[in-house]
């Protein structure tokens, strides 16, 4: 059981090693000639105004993120249900139960839609 998860650790370790090794080889060869103009952020050739990472962005990105959390957690509830659906003895019961759940999920989507959370402009 646990042995089937061991390759994930090996894979992550090996890929990180490969990435760092490539960066090290690049470090041996590449030039390093920084000067202040080169190290400014690119803004069409003008001097950058203000700090970009203070986080001035549309709040709508945040609304989308909240909607994602709600819907993705709900899809996670559907996964165990989907694996059991082939079992004939309980499939009708499971289906009706999930029908209620999916209708609640759809009602949430309709509410978000009606409130304009899905409108981008």
């Amino acid at each position: 059981m646990l042995l089937s998860y061991l390759p994930i650790l090996i894979m992550i370790g090996f890929v990180s090693f490969m990435g760092l090794a490539v960066l090290f080889v690049s470090y041996l060869f590449r030039p390093s000639n920084p000067y202040p103009e080169k190290l400014t952020a690119w803004e069409c050739g003008l001097a950058p105004i203000g700090e970009a990472n203070q986080g001035h962005f549309r709040v709508h990105f945040f609304v989308i993120a909240i909607l994602f959390v709600i819907f993705d957690v709900e899809t996670l509830f559907l996964f165990p249900w989907a694996t059991l659906l082939g079992d004939k003895s309980i499939s009708v019961f499971l289906f009706v139960e999930m029908l209620v759940f999916v209708v609640v999920l759809a009602a949430g989507l309709v509410y978000a839609w009606a409130k304009g959370a899905l409108e981008w402009i």
Binding site: G19, V25, N33, A52
Partner: protein, 358 residues
Amino acid sequence: MPDITTIIAVIIMVVKVVVVTQVIFSLPMPLTWIERKIAGHIHVRLGPMRVGPHGILQPLADTIKLLFKEDITPAKADKFLYKIAPLVAMVPAFAVFVAIPFGGEFIVPFTDKVFTLYISDMNVGILYVLAIGGLSIYGIILGGWASNSKYALLGGLRSSAQMISYEVALSFAAIGVVMMTNSLSLVDMVKSQGDWFWQWNILYLPVGPVWFVIFMIASLAEINRIPFDLPEDEGTLAAGYHTEYSGMRFSFFMLYEYVAMVTVSCLAVVMFFGGWSAPIDFREFEVLTPITSISWIYGLFGIFWFVSKVAVFIYFFMWIRFTLPRYRYDQLMTIGWKILIPISIFNILLTGLMRIWA
């Protein structure tokens, strides 16, 4: 002290991981060449022709060029996050391949040992692929934010908003396939599809093709390719989240994008097109019985079919890239939330009814 079979199993595992990683790591090189050639021929020109015959050594030249490029870190950037972000994007894209089955299993000749052509048959396969594949978003948004550049920040935000929006549709498509196959393991998913092409999930009528279309649209958005490559929209955002990157760190982001393309092609093959199984069941023909009875040939034959099907999908993604224009951002959000998700919810109910009555 673990026993000898466990040690051998771990050694085989390490060898498989190393081989798969090396193949995937070097795969973007031929893919960039193929992509530029396809672009050239679709645009009625030749594509790369100078370096080697038909430009076949072009990716090698590009790699050497990227290796010798200066690694620029903007003065105002968050140094640590800026340097680590490309690795955060790249490593999960590789880790996904632990669960993907490239072929079935066969008996090693002259022994009674079974050799599997996948690294690990996890019982949570598809869930693992979706979860780890989603981690790459962290690399993109960290890279975009840490650059301290407005283009990079907006590119990173757009990218993450787009990817999480379509992640929901992608999960729904995965649920649809799980409902049809009753297993989360990718190996079981392939095995539950038949050996003839009309038994594949794509032809599980009428819901199979709908799930496939939802999956393809969502995965196109997940891998940031045209028509959904808004994060790298050069008309409005310069290069998006990797505007400030150069040299090897830039190429790690490119590597991530190509590996992600291979991943979704593999997933499409495993989930809808029967994985490693051939379109027709060769074992049913009397003439071929001597070949199919030697099961290791049949096992390796599976890899051939798997790679061919994946190649078709990779060509399809490249073909789309040079055929379709780009969507606007509000159109992208409309497609994700107002079209794909309602269709998915309806389709889940339809698939459930089919499973009850079928």
